[in-house]
């Protein structure tokens, strides 16, 4: 799995002023949904949604947060320090080196951003995954980010939103990544005990241990269209049952049909839908 093959880098230059733009405006992207060629500038204007097939391409955390928070304004909460590579994991490459590569590339500590702001005037804390950082895989830092988000929401009596975009566990943190399943579930329980709203926005992809913990425990589960959401990988299932998978298997629409999510909301409508929802459930 190459985590970056279909990851479209956001157009950062307008947002970050001095930041060197790393995607020329004349670049074309191939839509993963319909394989149409999409002109970069148009794609950005359309919130990285394909104008032909409505495929919601992956977007950066920064772009995501700007779309969701009122006026695009939010404050990031720094991730706490976590133990680095406690297993001294090495596959074809050292995990420590991999981390460094991704940190240099993304200018982020890990695959998690915690941010506070308002949506529809209501206080909200968001813990959002960055798929561009090792496929959004969940290790210690990500787990701590979810806990930190929940703690902040309880402290400020805010709604808590998690936005998974993750292939699942960070294998290089082995058992400690598995332990993030109960640890992030504790975050959900903290919010529940404070009687605050917990909303999950399922984005592409939400699979493995991420889907089988905090991501499936939302009071309300919203999915972006056509996101891949499921526990086991498609290839694993095909090899196990040796059958062709049903049409649209493990998509948002499939989950909606099977009663696993509350609603599917297009990217452009997320802010207004969340605003309405929060006006009902958060004082």
């Amino acid at each position: 799995m190459n985590w970056l093959t279909d990851y479209v880098r956001p157009k950062l230059k307008e947002l970050m002023g001095k930041e060197k733009k790393d995607v020329p405006d004349n670049l074309w992207h191939k839509c993963p949904g319909c394989e149409q060629m999409l002109y970069h500038r148009e794609l950005v204007e359309n919130l990285s949604v394909c104008q032909y097939c409505n495929h919601h391409l992956r977007i950066s955390v920064k772009k995501r947060l700007e779309l969701l928070f009122d006026g695009g304004n939010y404050k990031e909460i720094p991730l706490g320090k976590v133990v680095q590579d406690p297993l001294k994991f090495k596959d074809t490459k050292k995990y420590a080196d991999r981390l460094k590569t991704y940190r240099d590339k993304t200018k982020r500590e890990d695959a998690m951003t915690v941010a506070v702001g308002t949506i529809g005037g209501k206080k909200v804390v968001i813990s959002a995954f960055d798929f561009g950082f090792m496929g959004g895989s969940m290790g210690m830092a990500v787990g701590e980010g979810i806990l930190k988000g929940a703690e902040e929401a309880v402290r400020s009596k805010a709604a808590f939103i998690t936005i998974p975009a993750s292939g699942g566990a960070r294998m290089q943190e082995a058992i400690l990544s598995l332990m993030q399943m109960p640890r992030t579930t504790i975050a959900v329980q903290m919010i529940r005990e404070a009687k605050l709203p917990y909303i999950v926005l399922l984005t592409d992809p939400t699979t493995g241990g991420v889907s089988a913990s905090f991501a499936m425990l939302g009071d309300i589960a919203i999915a972006e269209p056509k996101a891949t959401i499921g526990f086991a990988g498609k290839r694993v299932i095909e090899e196990t049952i040796r059958e062709k998978l049903p049409e649209g298997f493990q998509t948002s629409e499939y989950l909606l049909d099977h009663g696993m999510v509350d609603l599917i909301v297009e990217r452009k409508d997320l802010h207004s839908s969340l605003s309405k929802l929060l006006s009902h459930i958060l004082k």
Binding site: T92, M171, A174, T185, A212, L217, I229, A232
Partner: protein, 315 residues
């Protein structure tokens, strides 16, 4: 008994002992002496081998088909076991079995994955790979235990949750997540024993416990060594490297403070002496139960949560 690839020499000696036993009628002193010499040799080899099994060798021992399974532990350790079936929603899933019984005279709820022991029972128990209804049955039973203020013992032995279309349709992710959620909120003690394989999310769904114990040669991991090798090394042949890197042995996990204690196995592994491992598991469970019985429900829940929150922070 299935011979593991690293046990060839031991197996050859054991075969020879068997042959000599058949020859001897009980009087021939030389044959008896020969048997005794060979047996000493076997014991020495087993001791040497099993004191320093590699991670991959432990995986093989943990998956040994004659290693006692959940049913065997229930049969030996639990009196008057009443098995309870079904999730009251969709189906009965025998990959997880559970019910009430008495452990050393006190009522307990026992829940565990069961792999099965022959072709027929393996099919019946779906090779110990639960579907959502299995986890939902486990949730129902845990909540029943809480209602009656009865502690929960879980036996963990699964390659993982079942990867299938139906399981996905019925919300495998939600079922596992909710099981973890219920484990964490329970106001009665939960003690988990990884008796064979602790396969990822499929295992932790019933192992988010106050005390997590592992048998000396059992394994517990976020992914199988084969799966990890094919993803990270792009070759399933690197499973030995993956097994070592994953730190999936009881000894490694104890050092990482992910598990609470290790239960010693008899010489040559649990599959060689069932009675002995039952005794050791009994003692270990009783010790944990006695300690946890002193705490009230709220404290039990808080202790469990704190334990998981501390994980990784305490390294």
């Amino acid at each position: 008994m299935l011979t593991l690839d690293f046990e060839k020499q031991i197996h050859d000696l054991e075969t020879k002992i068997e042959e000599l036993r058949h020859m001897a009628s009980g009087e021939e002193m030389d044959i008896i002496e020969e048997i005794s010499t060979l047996q000493n040799k076997v014991d020495k080899l087993l001791k040497q081998k099993y004191s320093k099994l590699s991670a991959w060798e432990k995986v093989q021992v943990a998956r040994h088909p004659e290693r006692p399974h959940t049913k065997d532990y229930i049969k030996d350790l639990i009196e008057d076991f009443i098995e309870l079936a079904g999730d009251r929603n969709f189906a009965e899933d025998a990959a997880i079995i559970g019910g009430f019984g008495k452990f050393n005279g006190n009522p307990v709820m026992v829940i565990g994955q069961e792999k099965g022991a022959d072709t027929e029972s393996r099919m019946k128990h779906n090779f110990g790979m639960p579907k959502p209804e299995g986890y939902r049955k486990a949730q129902r039973l845990m909540l029943l235990a809480e209602k009656y203020d009865i502690p929960v013992i879980t036996f963990v032995d699964t390659a993982g949750a079942y990867p299938g279309v139906g399981a996905e349709e019925r919300g495998q992710s939600e079922a596992i997540a909710r099981s973890i959620d219920i484990c964490l909120g329970l106001k009665v003690p939960i003690i988990s024993v990884v008796v064979g394989e602790g396969g990822s999310g499929g295992a932790i769904a019933i192992a988010t416990a106050n005390s997590v114990l592992m048998l000396e040669h059992s394994v517990y991991s976020v992914i199988s060594p084969e799966g990890c090798a094919s993803i990270l090394w792009r070759s399933a042949d690197r499973k030995k490297d993956a097994a070592a890197a994953l730190k999936l042995t009881a000894q490694d996990l104890h050092k990482l403070k992910v598990i609470d204690d290790i239960i010693t196995e008899p010489l040559g592994g649990a599959h060689r002496h069932h009675k002995e491992i039952f005794k050791n598991v009994n003692n270990a469970l009783q010790k944990e139960l006695t300690n946890l019985k002193k705490l009230n429900g709220q404290t039990i829940m808080i202790q469990r949560r704190k334990k998981f929150l501390d994980m990784g922070r305490n390294l």
